[in-house]
């Protein structure tokens, strides 16, 4: 299948050109996702019943400490969890289709074409002995797109252009590129099939601040251009504040809070969200940041009740007994905390 060289990157030409208004329907719905890693000492409950959804064109942030399960969610969405890890249960509906029901071959076709990943050390995931254009070609070829050398060169140039790189980068090897440029190449590969959903797992954590902003701008520009949704995973709350529409705060394999970003920073609901925001050093005030005392619980034997209670300044007796569930307590805002017990009106789905 060969497409005209001037409008190359179209996988589904039948798709309507007019995009539906932003934030109307859900691209992805995740229901009660459970992922365990089975070790000799028992099952590590890395993701423990997480539900969220993402709307068309939306930017969702997933924030948490190391070990909170955020990267496991990214891998689970692509069904790339390797043994000893396993997706135990749940549903992941991409445009209504449960990814867990697909055969492996079908899933392989979804990766890159529908869901693309920009991984944390993506710049180190480039093949050191292949030129940039060959790495971009591999993705297209794997998804059945055969192009003449000329059409391929045009498409590669167009992709590189869309991430702000010059045409001749196509002929370079990864070692000839800086970290920021390599990360852009990875973004170019990720968008090469116009995915519906981009998962960016700490895409800029290895980059300098100035380059971080440039790479982030590039990523968001191509995301808007494609009308794709993005899940941005990270632990930098500053970056989240600048970039995403909604934030999900992860703690010990569960979502502690999901709120629109402005509400979250104005009035965090979960005590953990509050501490996380307070732990940010600021340029305005000296000494205004503090660490969160204590450590996250072991995911091998999860404590009873709320996982955060040992570090929580508001812990009550109740918290040790009953596990809180994510509930809608304000419009668009969900929190998993007993402090909001009386306020909730309806349990979120």
């Amino acid at each position: 299948m060969s497409s005209p060289s001037h409008h190359p990157i179209t996988l589904t030409p039948s798709h309507p050109v007019t995009l539906p208004p932003r934030h109307t329907h859900h691209v992805l719905e995740v229901r009660d996702l459970v992922v365990h890693y089975h070790t000799t000492r028992g099952a590590v409950q890395a993701v423990n019943g997480v539900s969220f959804d993402i709307r068309e064109g939306e930017r969702l942030g997933l924030v948490g400490e190391s070990g909170s399960g955020k990267s496991t969610i990214a891998l689970a969405l692509l069904r790339l969890i390797r043994p000893p890890g396993r997706i135990e249960s749940g549903e992941m509906l991409l445009e209504g289709v449960d990814l867990l029901s697909l055969y492996e071959e079908e899933m392989r076709r979804v990766r890159l074409a529908k869901i693309a990943l920009v991984a944390q050390g993506a710049m180190n995931s480039l093949n050191p002995v292949l030129r940039v254009k060959e790495q971009i070609r591999d993705g297209l070829k794997d998804h059945g797109i055969q192009l003449s050398p000329r059409a391929l060169a045009d498409r590669v140039a167009e992709l590189l252009n869309s991430v702000g790189l010059r045409r001749d980068v196509a002929n370079m090897f990864p070692h000839e590129l800086s970290g920021g440029m390599k990360q852009r190449v990875c973004i170019a590969i990720a968008i090469s099939l116009r995915p519906k959903l981009i998962i960016a797992d700490e895409p800029t954590s290895a980059l300098d601040v100035v380059v971080q902003r440039q790479v982030m701008d590039t990523l968001l520009a191509v995301q808007e251009d494609l009308g794709a949704s993005i899940i941005l995973i990270g632990h930098d709350m500053g970056l989240m504040a600048q970039v995403v529409d909604r934030v999900g705060i992860m703690y010990a394999g569960n979502l502690a809070e999901v709120s629109p970003v402005s509400d979250l920073f104005r009035a965090p609901l979960h005590p953990y969200s509050n501490l996380l925001i307070a732990s940010l050093p600021s340029l305005e005030e000296k000494g205004a940041f503090q660490g969160i005392p204590g450590l996250p619980p072991s995911l091998l034997n999860r404590p009873t009740g709320c996982a955060f209670r040992t570090r929580c300044p508001h812990a009550m007796e109740h918290c040790a007994v009953v596990t809180p569930h994510l509930r809608e307590v304000e419009p668009e805002r969900r929190v998993s905390c007993h402090l909001y017990e009386n306020e909730w009106s309806r349990e979120s789905a």
């Binding site: 790189l165 501490l275 000494g287």
Partner: protein, 345 residues
């Protein structure tokens, strides 16, 4: 007064050489800097990758030799210290590296990294005393000995491991700790704790700290003076409050603007002249190294290397925008560094 540790006109070039095809990379360019023994200070060295900050740390630690210039420890070249002097140097100047995962041998318990210096430098006369010393040191950095001693590295979090590194440095009662990106690999929620333990060492034990980082916010939080480096040279230097709150050098301004503020109502602003990121970095032989990225570039910046202009009492910037200000005399950056408060205040 002899400085504790001093870099004098240090240049470090990687690669190049007589048979090389390309000229070498200048990591540090005629750089002078010193840390006095008294009073103790916290100085931040800030720059992007490639600014030469880690090279500087390695030179100061004697792990690399400068191409030209010299690094002096109490007036003696660190590359040629006598046995006794070297032992003293190894105690006086301690380092904390970036990666709290790589510095441990996974086969040993974490006790090992604390026991080794105790044995090497005979810090304790007996096992009991050694144990006591280890416990005291761990307490000083906010760790509970019963939760850390006897464990293997993989049983501890990144933050705990990094604080054990701080404890190890403290054990030798150094005069100076060089901390090279000590928190860049730990979770944001733990950064504050580690930086606080470093600050406590400074306040309680009068240890000077050289905090090397790419993160202006944490530098602002813990240091008194700051040195902003760009491609091996000082772009701006001085009192941290002045440099961070009212940056003068266009590069510092760019850095400050690039920090994502944790406030959705404060959009990420700042406009850099869009530079083609894939354009090869031209070797700058004349003129300001920042000229290609600078929104205020002038003719003179292309022709001459800007010296440090003393824009304020406690700050200097290497930019011709401030050519009306007097030039910093000599190479002594100390002139613009704020004198710290007496420790314990």
């Amino acid at each position: 007064m002899t400085a504790l540790l001093e870099a004098r006109h240090v240049t470090k070039v990687f690669g190049g050489g007589r048979f090389a095809k390309a000229p070498g990379t200048v990591a540090l360019d005629d750089f002078s800097f010193r840390v006095d023994a008294e009073p103790p200070t916290i100085t931040a060295i800030v720059g992007e990758s490639g600014s030469g900050k880690t090279t500087l740390a390695r030179l100061l630690l004697g792990l690399a030799a400068p191409t030209s210039g010299e690094v002096l420890y109490r007036g003696q070249d660190v590359q040629r210290l006598s046995g006794d002097e070297r032992r003293r140097f190894l105690r006086d100047v301690q380092v904390i590296f970036q990666d709290p995962y790589e510095v441990y041998n996974p086969f040993y318990k974490v006790d090992h990294v604390l026991e080794t210096p105790i044995k090497k430098f005979r810090l304790a006369p007996s096992r009991e005393k050694a144990r006591q010393l280890m416990e005291e040191t761990l307490n000083a950095v906010g760790l509970r000995p019963d939760e850390t001693l006897g464990r293997h590295p993989h049983q501890l979090s990144g933050g705990q491991r990094q604080r054990i590194m701080v404890a190890r440095a403290l054990l030798l009662q150094p005069r100076l700790i060089i901390a090279d990106e000590p928190v860049s690999m730990v979770d944001a929620s733990l950064r504050a704790t580690i930086l606080e333990s470093l600050r406590q060492l400074h306040l309680k034990f009068g240890i000077s700290i050289l905090y090397i980082t790419h993160d202006l916010t944490t530098a602002y939080q813990i240091s008194q003076n700051i040195l902003v480096m760009y491609r091996g040279e000082v772009a701006e230097v001085g009192d941290v409050d002045l440099v961070v709150k009212q940056p003068r050098h266009p590069y510092t301004q760019l850095l400050v603007q690039s920090i994502p503020k944790a406030d959705p109502n404060h959009p990420w602003h700042g406009h850099e002249i869009p530079v083609d990121p894939s354009a090869p970095v031209a070797a700058v032989t004349h003129g300001c190294k920042f000229a290609d990225r600078c929104p205020y570039v002038m003719d003179i910046s292309r022709q001459q290397r800007p010296p440090l202009f003393r824009t304020d009492e406690r700050r200097a910037a290497a930019c011709f925008l401030y050519k009306e200000s007097p030039q910093l005399e000599g190479t002594d950056l100390e002139q613009v560094m704020a004198v710290p408060l007496v420790p314990g205040v």
